[in-house]
Structure formats: structure tokens, C-alpha cells
């Protein structure tokens, strides 16, 4: 691809971007949110038409008009969110929508699926219902589907963001297998370690511009990050964690005893003091998200007592928590966070507007002022405050949701995976913001899958396993090694 340009009304997404993929290589496409990775991929796969530039495959100039077009030329894509049908079988998912005939030869289909799964080493049965497979397997099945359609170019858009380490390893071995068959793979991810583990070359984009193409072995991680951000990365090291002090008072801001919820967390005790940053950690499914959801009554609370600033409180619905001054940024940004079709402005003012009451809507001017203030202070990249939030990049959506809660000036803020799926620069910004809030006396509960992030920001970590709290770490115990050991179950058990 040479000199690719793409514009949207009010925003130029790509400017003169070049990208070369060789057969049998894994090529990482790196950049911050809004750098243009997704746009470039969508041009590559025919979702968007390019405004100018050339696309060549095997030296032949090609013009994709639709995703089907791209598919016919051997470009296959597997997106971060799996686009298969969970209630169909594995084999059906692999062949659905591809038959030319109205009738299906079920037996042949199953046999073909079994052979393909076998040859790629994917541990799934053709007759199994897709939803009974783990996310990683589902992802692999999506890849197998693409491979079976004779794709020469495979695009993996953040395939690992919802996988655990073991699953990532399985995915990587599949990628290596495909590489050896001569498939060129474009790999998009935010995880730097993974880039170095699997990629041969790296292309970096920033603000829709082509920064450079590098051999992975010749580009140190540190330099990669600074190329992505356009500045040297000393931000992280300058961050200083806030330790609780006596001035914060003895009474916790929030205190729960025996709290449990319909989502199946075992009754737990929890407290957080003024200006404290603590975190829940544990593997996916350990109950860390369910625990904070119980605090906010996002799931139905089934038992336990809650005190807010020493006073008995009852939180039966999110609105009660909001009224006490608790904010909650949910893990699932798309499903629980954004109101996709509404403007950035409406999304930002939503929580404060609800707190203000049904009969007291903000005037257009007030709402605009609120939104503009946070668009500026959090540096949210949007054409205007009236743009629908769904057209923003993931990181900017996340910032808007963050703005929504900052606007309510909460006393206790719960952030569940605020940094997932967003670029390094924004991650650091968010971590800094958390520490600044704590400095101002806000209590924060912070959840992240990345342990180093948690260690950098939290002064206390609550470790969960199998839906119960198994440990609490403070001070010198807050090192990656210790945390991992407690998560894994320590040496004494098993």
C-alpha cells in the first residue's frame, strides 16, 4: 500500500501512509488511539474506500470496493470482537454464508471442519456449540475460517485483548504455523511484549501519519513507545504513588461488610479511606469486576451492610450510589459505558444531569460548557462535542466516560479496566489522573489486567481467586512477583 489517504468529514484520518507486508511474516501495526490503525485496516479490507494512493497485491494494483472484494483477493480479517454466531456449531460457523447451494451436506461439512481444525491444532470439535468454546478457541476458529477461504493476508485486530496468557500462547503458535505456510499476518495490539514475541517487522503510525517501518529486532521497546507517542517516555518513572497519611482520617469513606451480589461473589468485607487508591486484582473471572459491581449495586445486591463516611447507607440501585458520591466506570465500555448514538456532550453530562434531576435539564449552553471543559482538559480528540461518541476511537470514548464521572466530582471513584484496549500514552495519562485525584482527596478503586499498572498506582491490592478475596498486599509486598504468587495460589497450596 502506498500513499494512502482517507478523510472523514472534519477529520483527516490517514495521510500518505505506506505499508508493506511480505509473505510469511508477522507485521505489527502500532500506534496510539486515533493514530489511524483501524482506518488503515478498514481501507485494507475494503470497508472504506481510499481517497487516493495505491494498493498492490503481488505487484498488481487493486481497488477494493467492498469487504467481499477484499476477501476475493485473499485478505481475511479477524476482529477483536468475535463476529461469529455463538449459538451455531463450530462447523457451521466455519462454513456459514459460503455455500453456493441451498442444501448443506452436513456430513462433508463436519469432516472438512474436523480436518482443518486438526491441521491447525485447534482443540475443538466440529459439532460443539461455538459458545461452549473459550474466547481464544473462538478466535482461532475465526482464523481457521479465514484460512479456509484461501487468504494470503490475515489481519488480526487486537486478537489478544480478551485472552489470558495461556490462550495467547496458543494463538501465537497458530500464528507461527500460518507464517510457515506463507501467510502474511498483520498484527494489531496494544501489548508491547507480544509485539516483540511474535513480530518480524513493525510499522508505526501517529496522528494518521506514517512514522516508519522497522525490523522488530532493531527497535528497542523504549524507542518504539517514544515513536508512537512522539515524545520520550519518562512520564511513567516520574509518577509518584500516594501513600495514605494520618490527615486522611480514620473513618473509611466507604465500608462494606459481608457484601454479596446476584453475580455470584462470595460475601466480602471491604473498606477504602479518603484519598486512598486501592485495587482488585486476580485472573479474568476471579470476581474482581463482580466485587466492584456489588459496591455500586450494578448487579443486584443480595446481602451485606454498607457504611458511607461512617453512616449506614443502603445502595439498592446505581442511582443511590451516585447520590452518595460514588462513580463507576464499567469494564465493558461498549455494553455498559457509552450511549453510542448520543453525542460526546450528552455522554459527558449524562451522570451529572441525572443527579441534577429529571425536572432540571441543563441549558444547551451549560451542557456545552461542561463538555468543552473536559474535552479540553482530558484532551479528547473529537470533531466537536456534538459528534456521536461511537465515531470516536476507543481511548477517546474512555476519556469521555471518565469525564462523565469527573464532572460529578465524586468522593469515591471505581475504575474497572479504564486502560484496557487503549494506547500507552492514554494509559499513562489515566494513571496520572488517578494519582492526581487521590492527591485531591478522592478515593479510587482501580482494576487493571496489567499488574505493573496496578503496582504503580495502588497503595493496597486486594487479590481475588474463585470469587473470594484471598489476600491483601501493601507496602513492600507490592511487587509483581509477590502479586503473581498470591494470584496463582502461593506455594503452600497445591
Amino acid at each position: 500500500m502506498r500513499g494512502i489517504c482517507k478523510s472523514f468529514p472534519g477529520v483527516r484520518a490517514l495521510r500518505d501512509v505506506g505499508f508493506t507486508l511480505r509473505a510469511g511474516e508477522v507485521h505489527a501495526l502500532m500506534g496510539e488511539n486515533g493514530a489511524g490503525k483501524s482506518t488503515l485496516i478498514k481501507v485494507m479490507t475494503g470497508v472504506y474506500e481510499k481517497d487516493s494512493g495505491r494498493i498492490e497485491i503481488d505487484g498488481q494494483a487493486i481497488h477494493f470496493k467492498s469487504p467481499q472484494d477484499a476477501q476475493a483477493f485473499g485478505v481475511g480479517t479477524v476482529y477483536q470482537e468475535i463476529t461469529l454466531c455463538p449459538n451455531l456449531s463450530v462447523a457451521e460457523n466455519m462454513f456459514i454464508g459460503r455455500g453456493r447451494y441451498a442444501f448443506v451436506d452436513w456430513k462433508r461439512m463436519r469432516e472438512k471442519a474436523a480436518r482443518l481444525l486438526d491441521s491447525l491444532g485447534i482443540p475443538a470439535r466440529p459439532t460443539q456449540q461455538l459458545s461452549s468454546c473459550s474466547l481464544a478457541i473462538q478466535q482461532m476458529i475465526a482464523i481457521a475460517r479465514a484460512i479456509d477461504m484461501d487468504c494470503k493476508i490475515l489481519i488480526l485486530d487486537e486478537p489478544t485483548s480478551s485472552l489470558d496468557e495461556d490462550e495467547v500462547r496458543k494463538l501465537f503458535s497458530l500464528m507461527r504455523e500460518l507464517k510457515s505456510r506463507g501467510v502474511g499476518i498483520v498484527f494489531v495490539t496494544h501489548f508491547l511484549d507480544q509485539v516483540y514475541e511474535i513480530s518480524d517487522r513493525i510499522t508505526v503510525l501517529r496522528n494518521g501519519e506514517f512514522i516508519g517501518e522497522y525490523e522488530a529486532a532493531e527497535l528497542p521497546q523504549f524507542e518504539l513507545v517514544s515513536k508512537m507517542m512522539g515524545k520520550a517516555l519518562d512520564d511513567v518513572s516520574s509518577m509518584r504513588k500516594r501513600e495514605p497519611s494520618a490527615a486522611d482520617g480514620e473513618t473509611p469513606v466507604f465500608e462494606a461488610t459481608g457484601l454479596s451480589s446476584a453475580a455470584g461473589v462470595r460475601p466480602f468485607d471491604f473498606a477504602i479511606r479518603k484519598g486512598e487508591v486501592n485495587g482488585f486484582t486476580g485472573l479474568l473471572g476471579s470476581g474482581r469486576s463482580e466485587s466492584v459491581r456489588a459496591i455500586y449495586a450494578a448487579d443486584k445486591v443480595t446481602g451485606g451492610r454498607v457504611r458511607f463516611k461512617g453512616k449506614e447507607a443502603s445502595i439498592g440501585d446505581p442511582i443511590h450510589a451516585m447520590r452518595l458520591g460514588i462513580g463507576y466506570l464499567p469494564e465493558d465500555r461498549k455494553g455498559d459505558g457509552i450511549i453510542a448514538d448520543l453525542s460526546v456532550r450528552d455522554n459527558i453530562i449524562l451522570a451529572l444531569q441525572v443527579l441534577n434531576g429529571f425536572w432540571k435539564p441543563f441549558s444547551r449552553k451549560q451542557a456545552e460548557a461542561f463538555a468543552d471543559e473536559y474535552i479540553r482538559s482530558l484532551n479528547i480528540k473529537t470533531a466537536s462535542s456534538a459528534t456521536p461518541i461511537k465515531s470516536l476511537s476507543g481511548g477517546n470514548q474512555q476519556k469521555a466516560i471518565l469525564a462523565r464521572w469527573l464532572l460529578t466530582h465524586p468522593e469515591y471513584l471505581i475504575l474497572d479496566e479504564p486502560t484496557r484496549g487503549i494506547d500507552v500514552g492514554t494509559k499513562v495519562e489515566i494513571q496520572k489522573l488517578v494519582l492526581k485525584l487521590a492527591e485531591e482527596g478522592v478515593s479510587v478503586t482501580f482494576i487493571s489486567s496489567e499488574i505493573d499498572e496496578m503496582i504503580r498506582t495502588c497503595s493496597r491490592l486486594i487479590v481475588m481467586r474463585d470469587r473470594s478475596i484471598v489476600g491483601e498486599l501493601t507496602g513492600d509486598d507490592l511487587t509483581e512477583n509477590v502479586v503473581m504468587r498470591v494470584i496463582a495460589g502461593g506455594s503452600e497450596s497445591i
Binding site: 500513499g3 489517504c5 482517507k6 478523510s7 472523514f8 468529514p9 472534519g10 477529520v11 483527516r12 495521510r15 500518505d16 481517497d51 487516493s52 455500586y296 450494578a298 440501585d317 446505581p318 442511582i319 451516585m322 463507576y328 464499567p330 455494553g335 455498559d336 459505558g337 457509552i338 450511549i339 453510542a340 448514538d341 448520543l342 453525542s343 450528552d346 449524562l350 451522570a351 444531569q353 441525572v354 443527579l355 434531576g357 429529571f358 425536572w359 432540571k360 435539564p361 470533531a383 466537536s384 456534538a386 459528534t387 462523565r404
Partner: protein, 356 residues
């Protein structure tokens, strides 16, 4: 500002359709806009359209809100209006004397009945999660029989000056009463939307109920509220319809108007799957339907075939306003603009370069 622009585009289509229809009418006869004063009130094509569309406009407003919050349509509105108006007639005829106060009292009772009906439909939708169309199918099926029973198996007649003045003209007022009532109702709705967060709440619930709940909005309550507002709309529409007719015919009153109300919402550019909404779009849509009906009559289309013509017209309208055609048009516009830009600037990059 951007929002205004998209909003403008939304009502642009029904407006241009209106313009085309009016043009057709002008070709047919240049006297289309002429208004004459008969017995101290204005008559003519335009007043007749405003008069005729009253009930539809009011119902389409309620339908818009329900569509936004619940992502579905209420197909029982015509039937509900028949029930509320039967209650109105029953209460009014039961009172000792027909005075303005008695009419007001009967109207308020019918509004209460409308709210109860809305709450019934709304709770099926909001609490029991029944598909709106299925939930309202229940009342759609039973409603006219209920109205028939309320009527006492008769078709009661409103033979008095006051109600017929409401249905036509109050002496000394040059504009027909239903037109005034409709305008007043629109004003009340506009004021309500301005004074409350109904728009934000309903749109949020319609787009993402889970996120709405996590932001302190109760989706059940909001859906219920919109159905209850629709209930009030049906009561007002029923009130106007029965005073216009002068008698309560439980079989034919406002027959098939639910389909027109849904159509008005669609013509107004509102997504029928819920979310963002434009009441003004629906209102224009409702008037467009009325103009269409009357234009076909004026063109002397055979009354038996009128429905086929109407359907054909709507088909064209819906295809033209579909996202597919819109995207195609947008692409065309962009291409033309790019060509203009390229010829003036001879730049390697796309059309919006200066903007960034």
C-alpha cells in the same frame, strides 16, 4: 451546531416531499392556497389539511416517544383512542347538563383512562419485556369490543352545540377548533420536552438500557412514562375525533390510524429501533400523509384504488430515505467535491485537507 445540521437533514426529506405534493396540487389548480371566510371561519385546502390531520399529529407525537424509549411501536393507539372517547361520551352524557365544565371533567376522566391504558401496555413492555408490537396487539384485539361495551352496545350521539363547536368552529374564532387544540398540544409537548430530561433519558434508554441504568436512569420507569404520555395522546386524539364525528362509532372511529401514526414517525426520519428522535419530524410526517391523502382525492383517483397509489408513493419515499440511498448520495457529493478540489488545488491528498 452539527446536531442541528443532521436534524435539518432529517426533516429535509418530508419537507421536500410536502413541497412536491403542494406543487402537484398547484399544477392541478392555482387556487390551492386560496382561503375563504365562511360563517366567520377560515376554510380552504390548507385549513382542511390542518383540520384533518389533527388526530394523526397528536398520535404520532406519542408514537415517537414510545418508539424512542422502547424501540418498538404501539399498534393499539387507534383502539385506545376509541376506548378513551367512549368513556368521554359516557361520562358526558351521564352528567346532568352539558356545560364547558362537564366537558372538561369528562375529558379529564378520559385522559385518566388513557394513562391507565398506557400503563397497561407500558408495563407489559417495560416490566415483562414483551415485544411492543405483541404487547399492544392484546389491546388492539380487545379494544373495540371494550369500547362497544362502554357505549352500551349503541353508537351514542353527541347532539349538542358545545361538543360540535369543539369538533368544528367556536363562533367568533376564525380557526377551526381541532387546529387550535392540536397547536396547543404541540406547544405543551414542546414545553414538557424543554422543561424535563425526557429526551436525554428516553434516548439513552432506547440506545443502551444497561448503560442508562448504570448512570442512574431507571429504564422501566422511563418506558412506562412514555407509554403513559402516549396514553394521554390517545385521549386527546379520541376527544377530537369524537367531537368531529358527533357520534361514537366504536367500530370505525380512527380505524387504521395506528399504521399512519407509525408511518408518520418513519417519514419523520426517526429510527424505528429506538434512540434519537425528532418530534417535529413526526409532525411533518403526519401532515405529509394527510396532504398525500387529499392530493390523491383531488387528482380524482378512484377511491377504491387510492390505497395502492398511497402505498406506491410511500414505497418511493422510504427507498429514497433509506440509509443505502443516503450513503450513495453522500458518496456522489463527496466525489464531485473531490473533483472540484483537485482541479483547483491539484493536491495529492483528499478533499478535506485544509480542514485539518
Amino acid at each position: 451546531m452539527k446536531r442541528k445540521r443532521t436534524h435539518g437533514f432529517q426533516v429535509l426529506l418530508p419537507l421536500s416531499v410536502l413541497a412536491i405534493l403542494i406543487l402537484i396540487n398547484l399544477v392541478k389548480g392555482a387556487d390551492y392556497f386560496s382561503v375563504s371566510l365562511i360563517n366567520g371561519a377560515l376554510y380552504g385546502n390548507i385549513p382542511n389539511i390542518l383540520f384533518g390531520a389533527s388526530e394523526l399529529v397528536i398520535l404520532s407525537i406519542g408514537m415517537t416517544l414510545v418508539t424512542s424509549s422502547s424501540g418498538g411501536q404501539d399498534i393499539s393507539v387507534g383502539v385506545a383512542a376509541t376506548i378513551t372517547s367512549s368513556v368521554f361520551v359516557r361520562v358526558l352524557l351521564g352528567s346532568s347538563a352539558i356545560t364547558w365544565t362537564a366537558i372538561l371533567a369528562a375529558f379529564i376522566v378520559s385522559c385518566a383512562v388513557g394513562i391507565v391504558i398506557g400503563a397497561f401496555n407500558g408495563s407489559l413492555v417495560a416490566i415483562f419485556n414483551v415485544q411492543p408490537m405483541v404487547a399492544t396487539l392484546i389491546l388492539f384485539t380487545a379494544g373495540r369490543s371494550i369500547a362497544f361495551l362502554v357505549d352500551g352496545r349503541l353508537s351514542p350521539i353527541l347532539a349538542n352545540d358545545l361538543t360540535s363547536q369543539i369538533g368544528s368552529v367556536i363562533p367568533g374564532v376564525p380557526i377551526q377548533t381541532p387546529i387550535i387544540l392540536t397547536a396547543a398540544f404541540i406547544a405543551v409537548v414542546a414545553a414538557f420536552l424543554k422543561a424535563t430530561n425526557l429526551r436525554l433519558y428516553s434516548e439513552a434508554v432506547g440506545i443502551n438500557p444497561k448503560a442508562a441504568r448504570l448512570n442512574g436512569i431507571d429504564p422501566v420507569r422511563i418506558k412506562l412514562l412514555t407509554y403513559m404520555i402516549l396514553g394521554v395522546c390517545t385521549a386527546v386524539a379520541g376527544f377530537i375525533a369524537v367531537t368531529k364525528a358527533g357520534r361514537h362509532d366504536s367500530v370505525n372511529l380512527l380505524k387504521f390510524c395506528e399504521m399512519d401514526a407509525i408511518l408518520a414517525v418513519a417519514i419523520g426520519g426517526n429510527p424505528l429501533g429506538g434512540g434519537r428522535f425528532s418530534v417535529s419530524g413526526s409532525i411533518i410526517g403526519a401532515y405529509t400523509i394527510e396532504v398525500l391523502n387529499r392530493t390523491l382525492l383531488r387528482l380524482e383517483v378512484d377511491p377504491e384504488t387510492i390505497k395502492a397509489f398511497k402505498a406506491a408513493f410511500i414505497l418511493v419515499l422510504m427507498v429514497v430515505s433509506s440509509p443505502v440511498v443516503r450513503a450513495y448520495a453522500a458518496k456522489g457529493v463527496a466525489k464531485i467535491r473531490a473533483r472540484l478540489d483537485a482541479s483547483s488545488a491539484r493536491d495529492s491528498c483528499g478533499p478535506e485537507q485544509e480542514e485539518a
